[in-house]
């Protein structure tokens, strides 16, 4: 499904100085698998997620990214989205004046168009969205508000999951969707994600805490420190990290 080979990436800061962030990421996610990427702040997790989605601020200096045999580097962000890549943003963006439901409908129909499907008509769309919004525990009133505008942190995250369920992507990347959520919201989010688990889909969960992984049990856990994946393992690795912190691992990274 997703194959990342030796990915190096850098960014130009305000002083036009090049700062390298990722130093050779390798990742292979098979269909049906759930992977977790953990790591301290600033280790490059969001950078990786954004690169996969096609954010253009970064320079890829080396490496490859493949989704289902397609070279991601050849695709614009919208083409990646239409090919089934979904990113739940760490900081979802507000779009004032744009109706949330209208936005969702435009998104769903642009993906359908790509697959040569006719647009969903208003009734079918409404039926679908009403069932999905229940799953994520959101009030229907959020549909008539502007996209994320004056939503609380938790409401924004639920809205991301709603969008994900509506688009039912092949590869979902969740960037710290759990941060700032209370336990109810956390459970709704997890329920949404789990409902998407299927042999044909893959999910990458980026998180800081192992808490979410109690609800979304990963097949593989990776630890990312300073732009490198320094350790990978089973779900027990998350518990170990919770107990010991990242310190014992990052010491070893200095020597790499």
């Amino acid at each position: 499904m997703l194959m990342i080979k030796n990915l190096h990436a850098a960014i130009q800061d305000e002083k036009q100085k090049t700062k390298s962030i990722l130093h050779g990421i390798n990742l292979h996610v098979r269909p049906g698998e759930v992977h977790a990427i953990m790591g301290p702040n600033g280790s490059g997790k969001s950078t990786l997620a954004n690169l996969l989605a096609g954010r253009e601020d970064y320079q890829i200096t080396q490496g490859e990214m493949w989704l289902d045999g397609q070279n991601l580097m050849d695709l614009t962000p919208e083409a990646r989205a239409r090919a089934g890549l979904f990113l739940a943003f760490q900081y979802p963006v507000e779009i004032p004046g744009v109706n949330n439901m209208y936005f969702l409908k435009a998104a769903v129909n642009s993906v359908r168009k790509h697959h040569q499907l006719p647009p969903l008509d208003a009734m079918d769309f409404l039926t679908l969205i009403k069932s999905k919004i229940k799953e994520v525990g959101m009030d229907e009133k959020f549909l008539s508000r502007a996209v994320n505008e004056s939503f609380s942190g938790g409401e924004k995250k639920r809205n991301e999951i709603l969008q994900m369920l509506m688009l039912s992507p092949k590869l979902a990347i969740l960037d710290e969707t759990d941060s700032g959520l209370d336990i109810d919201a956390l459970q709704s989010v997890a329920k949404g994600v789990n409902s998407l688990r299927a042999p044909s889909r893959s999910i990458v969960v980026v998180t800081h805490y192992q808490r979410l992984l109690n609800y979304i049990v990963p097949d593989v856990v990776h630890v990312m420190v300073k732009g490198k994946i320094i350790k990978s393992g089973g779900k027990e690795l998350a518990l170990e990290l919770e107990e010991k912190g990242y310190g014992w691992l990052s010491e070893s990274v200095e020597q790499v």
Binding site: A53, G54, R55, E56, D57, T76, P77, E78, R80, A81, R82, F86, L87, F89, P92, V93, E94, I95, P96, G97, V98, F103, A106, A107, S110, V111, H114, A146, Q163, L167
Partner: protein
């Protein structure tokens, strides 16, 4: 990064740039007392009109062109402008729609303004102004049944001289400013509306202005009077052919609302904006002002300004009546080398008067967009309130947005609130939309439309969709 995309998207293709080949009665260029007498004569005007024009002209000769606006343009040669051009008519002018020159009907059809009463805009009465004269007004009979007078200004001068004499120049006096004074001297036509006491105008009224002839200035004048307890919603639209030289449009609009009356005036301005290098386009120097004369009266201006090389206008409200309300909702889009200096004046005179100003400026390319607004509260205006919000959206690194709010409160009970923001079209917003599968073009349209939503909501239903489409056309490009 996305600037290249944005540039392509906002590059507009102007759809209304064609010229109608029609025989016309056109004066030689130049301005003199003689020209003014000739205009007045052509229109068979009563003496009071001619005298008023001549007084305006004498005053104009003492003035010089104002320079304070944040716009740049070369000196205009007023002797090089044609002040009167009218399509030739066979007889005395068309008596009914059937008699209107089919070529003119065809022109308006091409512009999307069909002049047949059974057309798509069946709920809207249209006065069609072509160069210097009104060529047709629809639904006159139906409106007359309700007592509403809706006709060309020329006709009003003939049929209702007492109303014209009573109200003309009472809101925008001929001495008001350089361009208003010029207009007073040479205006050739326009629309006239009178809504009698207690009448709610049964349909939307609208005027569609078309400049066709080359080298011609358009100087029209609109006068709307809403008598006590009446209500009217009025919309104006405008387009012009593409030409390399600039053309001057200096209009005056006067609104008068008596006790409890309400006037809603909406503009969708789409004059030819000039080309990508800034060649050609209309100079849109317009004076629009309303007087809330009566208590509890209300005047609301809504404008969507997407055209013109230079837009220079401040639709204003004089809040004389106690408890009167003034509103100004504006979207101004400047692309390429377009310049807009626009805003409003809210003059609070009556007690408990309220005003709201919502201004949205969108700049792209090398466009310059200025909001200029004055809120003045006079000493006797107890408990006056104003709320102002100006927002600017920048779509390129080479465009500009400027805000000049002036506040003069001479009464301690005044409550004035002002908010101003400038934002660049968010790279984050754009990426977010694209990550959900939307093309750059759709994403930009969506973001810009969202930005303008508050103003679009104020447009009459029939036109909200039109305005949105117009903005989308203006933002259309070659992406995707």
């Amino acid at each position: 990064m996305s600037n290249q995309y944005l540039k392509q998207i906002v590059d507009k293709n102007y759809q209304y740039g064609f010229v109608t080949a029609i025989e016309s009665d056109t004066f030689a260029p130049g301005l003199s007392e003689e020209v003014i007498r000739k205009i007045s004569q052509r229109k068979n005007e009563p003496e009071f009109m001619l005298q008023w024009r001549l007084r305006a002209y004498q005053h104009w000769l003492t003035l010089s062109s104002p320079r304070w606006a944040h716009v740049k343009f070369p000196e205009i040669d007023y002797q090089n402008i044609i002040y009167y051009s009218a399509p030739k008519v066979k007889k005395d002018g068309p008596k009914s729609l059937e008699e209107v020159d089919p070529q003119l009907l065809e022109t308006y059809k091409k512009l999307g303004i069909p002049l047949h009463e059974q057309s798509r805009l069946a709920g809207v009465a249209v006065d069609a102004v072509f160069d210097s004269v009104s060529v047709a007004t629809t639904f006159k009979t139906k409106l007359a049944e309700a007592g509403v007078i809706f006709c060309s200004f020329s006709e009003a001068v003939q049929e209702h001289p007492e109303l014209v004499e009573k109200y003309l120049g009472t809101v925008v006096p001929f001495r008001d400013n350089f361009f208003a004074t010029l207009n007073s001297a040479v205006f050739s036509d326009g629309s006239f509306v009178y809504i009698p006491k207690g009448v709610r105008c049964p349909m939307e009224l609208s005027t569609y202005f078309r400049i066709n002839a080359a080298n011609t200035g358009q100087f029209e004048r609109t006068l709307i009077i809403a008598d006590a307890d009446s209500h009217v919603s009025y919309l104006e639209g405008c387009t012009a052919p593409m030409r390399d030289e600039n053309q001057l449009h200096a209009a005056v609009v006067e609104l008068i609302a008596l006790d409890n009356a309400e006037i809603k005036y909406s503009t969708v301005q789409n004059w030819y904006p000039g080309d990508e290098q800034g060649r050609g386009g209309i100079y849109n120097f317009v004076t629009k002002r309303g007087a809330c004369r009566g208590k509890h009266s209300k005047i609301s201006w809504t404008q969507i300004e997407t055209g013109s090389a230079i837009t220079w206008k401040y639709p204003s409200v004089i809040l004389q009546g106690d408890h009167s309300v003034g509103e100004f909702y504006s979207v101004a889009l400047t692309n390429h080398h377009q310049q807009a200096d626009t805003g409003t004046k809210m003059i609070h005179i009556g007690k408990n008067t309220r005003s709201t100003i919502i201004s949205k400026g969108i700049s792209a390319g090398f466009g310059q967009n200025t909001y200029r607004g004055l809120v003045r509260v006079l000493p006797q205006a107890d408990h006056a309130r104003n709320y102002t919000q100006c927002e600017s959206l920048l779509l390129s690194n080479t465009c500009g947005a400027h805000t000049f709010p002036y506040i003069e409160a001479k009464n301690p009970t005044a409550q004035i609130e002002h908010e101003a923001y400038t934002s660049k079209i968010g790279v984050d917003q754009l990426f977010y939309c694209r990550q959900r599968g939307l093309s750059v073009e759709d994403a930009v349209c969506m973001i810009v439309n969202g930005f303008c939503k508050r103003v679009f909501n104020e447009l009459p239903m029939e036109f909200a969709v039109e305005a949105q489409k117009l903005l989308e056309v203006s933002l259309e490009g070659s992406v995707g």
